[in-house]
């Protein structure tokens, strides 16, 4: 049995996505966790011993920034080789899960609780790729995913 601590990359864009990611912290115990998001100030939300990697913010409407963000995430994943990639969205998480999957990581998408009436667009698209595909609203869950196991608040 492999008792090595799994390396977990927890990545999200800013605002509510980051706040929700932090509320999952107890799930990352017993793992080597690396956090990644889009504002340097977010480091102050973490313990001093927590590792934080800054990446550029981008949305699907900004091609150039998106390409730069993708390159940063590819570099991060090749360097880190995480066992698990988990994200609460949006675009950085989508990219990290797609690439993480190609590199053999287990992947988790938790759609933001802000999407109460339908899944986010990236949440819909990631379904085919994420190993664990989750929504935080029971009425949005489906028999073959996304699944509902609770919410961050």
């Amino acid at each position: 049995m492999n008792s090595k601590k799994p390396c977990i990359l927890a990545i999200s864009s800013g605002g509510g996505h980051w706040v929700q990611l932090l509320r999952l912290r107890p799930a990352f115990e017993d793992g080597n966790i690396v956090y990644s998001s889009v504002k340097p100030e977010y480091q102050s939300d973490l313990a001093e011993s927590d590792k934080f990697i800054l990446i550029s913010d981008a949305t699907r409407w900004d091609r150039i920034r998106l390409i730069w963000m993708v390159m940063q995430i590819i570099y991060l994943l090749l360097k880190l080789r995480p066992d698990v990639v988990i994200s609460t969205g949006a675009a950085p998480g989508y990219v990290a899960i797609r690439i993480g999957k190609l590199l053999g990581a287990k992947t988790v998408w938790l759609d933001s609780i802000a999407n109460s009436e339908e899944l986010s667009l990236s949440g819909q698209k990631i379904g085919r790729h994420a190993d664990m595909w989750l929504t935080q609203w029971e009425h949005l869950s489906r028999s073959d995913g996304p699944f509902y196991f609770g919410s961050v608040i």
């Binding site: 980051w18 706040v19 912290r25 799930a27 102050s44 999407n115 109460s116 196991f149 609770g150």
Partner: protein, 149 residues
Amino acid sequence: MAFDRLVQSVDCWIKTQPSAYGFAQVGPGGYQPANMEWIEFASPDLFRKKLIQADLVIAHAGMGSIISAQQYGKPIVILPRRANLRETRNDHQVATAKHFSDRMGIFPVYDEKDLPEVLASVPIGRAMEPISSYASEELLTRIKGFIHS
């Protein structure tokens, strides 16, 4: 992102509350209040400090604001941004306001003209139990189980 419709309404309202002190994060290029202290973007540390000091939070219906207020046990009045006013890309904030309206400490308002009335009805200063710092037990267990499987 600026939300002038909200900041302007609160700025007007607070003028009628002589004993109230207001602090506003107005966003880049946002409306500059005349009756409140303001900053374009508050660092997480400053935001936390102001949140701890606050008796009431008034914000857009964004999950970051809602969760932060709830984590510190502060009542929050939320005004959703609207797509038709080009305040955001779609009306998910309106949906958020509706879905969270039955939670303790969350007070939605859908029209900024109703803000003074809603603000008058909020139990400001009454101690509220902060929510836990973490997600639901089951969600955490499932994710942790998957990580170690």
